[in-house]
């Protein structure tokens, strides 16, 4: 998994991914720098690391044909699968002033930060872990369909969630019960993305996805639930983050 210690994908890591893909695509250093600055200026602040959007912007400016654009995009995705250390360092002169000497080493998930070097604040707000980004994209259409149905029958959502709780408490371990409480709380917030319980482990998110499926099967019907689930997974698969955490893992 490519993420830093607090679960987010570091800005410097993303810079290196962009730099490597540009370097492998454009031989002219001037041109390379222009496109890098384009990313710095217009895309580095994006909450989600949507490489396809940047690829489209570069293709437009540089006049890349479909094949070249596709190749560039593939290089961006390839970069996302590489560890930080193996990516080329961005020249210091290209770094924004505040960050010029502060390029932070990439720290894999779960490792303690050992370096004592001063850490400059990230220029963007903390972003979600890859798993949560994918989960939110996956859950959104399913939750919307559930809410659309539930809103027509007041009280039915609460009833259905309580029934899930009844089956969850029968012979379930404390972990499952805790997950159900988290799910119930989230349903109380109408499955809002920013109210998603602080869960990161794939198996916990998978549990929430299953609870969503059960609700959809109960309230909308099993065929619709199957289709929603498959469609949500296919849609979430298009996220660049899906290269790191496939939504298939939620099924």
């Amino acid at each position: 998994m490519v993420a830093n210690d607090n679960g987010s994908m570091g800005l410097n890591y993303r810079r290196r991914v962009i730099y490597q893909a540009l370097q492998n695509t454009f031989s002219d250093p001037q041109q390379l720098r222009v496109y890098f600055e384009l990313w710095q200026r217009e895309h580095s602040q994006e909450t989600h690391f949507v490489v396809t959007r940047f690829a489209a912007a570069v293709a437009k400016v540089a006049g890349l044909d479909a094949e070249q654009k596709s190749l560039f995009q593939r290089r961006l995705f390839q970069g996302l699968t590489q560890p930080y250390e193996s990516l080329p360092r961005v020249p210091d002169a290209w770094m924004p002033a505040a960050n010029q000497t502060d390029e932070q080493p990439f720290v894999p998930a779960g490792r303690e930060v050992q370096a004592a070097a001063p850490v400059a604040p990230e220029p963007v707000a903390r972003i979600d872990s890859v798993e949560r980004i994918v989960f939110k994209a996956f859950a959104q259409p399913i939750a919307a369909a559930i809410l659309a149905k539930a809103d027509r029958h007041p009280g039915v959502l609460q009833e259905a969630v309580d029934d899930l709780g009844t089956s969850a408490s029968t012979g379930a371990d404390s972990r499952t019960q805790a997950l159900h409480r988290a799910f119930k709380q989230w349903s109380g917030e109408r499955f809002a993305s920013d109210a998603l319980p602080p869960l990161h482990a794939p198996e916990d998110l998978q549990h929430l996805a299953h609870q969503l499926y059960l609700l959809a099967a109960d309230l909308i019907g099993p065929m619709q639930a199957d289709r929603l689930l498959a469609q949500a997974a296919a849609d979430a698969e298009r996220l660049p983050e899906a290269a790191l955490f496939s939504p298939q893992m939620l099924l």
Binding site: Y213, D218, G221, P222, L229
Partner: protein, 431 residues
Amino acid sequence: MARWYRWGFAIAALTPGVAWAQTTEQVVHSVWIATCAGFVLMMQPGFALLESGFCRAKNSVNVIMKNFTDCAIASLAYWAVGFGLMFGLNWNGVVGISDFFPAGDGASLVNVLYQTFFAATAATIISGAVAERIRFMPYLVGSVVVVCLIYPLYGAWVWGGTAENAGWLRGLGFLDTAGGAAVHMIGGFTALGAIVVLGPRLGRFSRTGEVRDIPGHNLPLAALGAFLLWVGWLGFNGGAADPDFNDLGVIVLNTHLGAAAGVLGAMLTLAFHRRPLLMSAVINGALGGLVSVTAGAKYIDPGFAVVAGLVGGMIVVVGPALLQRLKIDDVVDAVSVHGFCGLWGTIAVGLFMRDDLFDPGRIAVQALGAGVAAAWAFGIGWLVYKALDATMGLRASTEHEQRGLDYTEHYEIGYGEFMAARTHRDLGGEG
């Protein structure tokens, strides 16, 4: 007929185990029974395709696996235990007590083979009803219990013993040509007991009582399965012909007419209810018609076989609605097709008996036999599956139901190219 016998000799010469000391009539009958056994075995792929087609794609492998393995396991269990309980020396008209692990002469072993496929048919009827939510191993254990207890005991009452020491229903004059009660009612009502214990599939019934359709993933496959069953049924019923074959014609004609009338009955009923002419209902109509004439194929005239089949076709349209009202989920309508149509067909023997139409005494005996079959199969079936639920856990988890039993039970999926990326995790991933 002379050509018939020459072919019989030629085939018999190639059939191991058919002793030459037998009369020509016995040899030909043995060959005929062996041929019919092949037809009955062909009903197994028929059931497999029908049931698989009526299920969602994510459960298609699981359904076929159940059919495939219960044919094998039920055959072994029936040969070892069931046949003896059913056809062994009959004790007080209740149960056979000899002929376990049969290994006699060629002619009798042909009958063992034929009866073994009957037993496998009774077991596999349950498979479709419980599809998409039953765990695989408890299902197989249930199949073994069906062919070692539920089916052979009722079979012993209907077909067991000799004329002097007959099974108790047989002694009362109960008639069942080829298992309208003994195979189909037993399979259908055991299935009812199983699905009552098992409960409906996730989301099948809404909180407001609405019934959600869960269409099968491949109806052409289901229709192909029904066609195979139709063909196989000619051997299923045809094997009940007397050794002199005088009644073979009426049996096979009645069988075919029953199926045809069943199709018509289903279509008329759909039209009467102003519903579309659903292929799924029409192919079940053919099967309902076939089940309806199975008990009486030998005993009723072709005109009444049409009546029996016609009513059977109507039952398969009306029966599922009745079960749905009770919130009972039968994936392939096996209870209606085999249970309800078997019940009707068994009573129809009393109504339409050749040269003895509408004899109240006969009707009462047939109704008694049908009632006993329904009560026995449902009651013991319910107990058996309840016990399996308590000991092994019958129902697949909701996670497994979501992912599909193909993947969770067998780690294989039926339509890899289309489904792996859509509804299942990569097979190389975590389990």
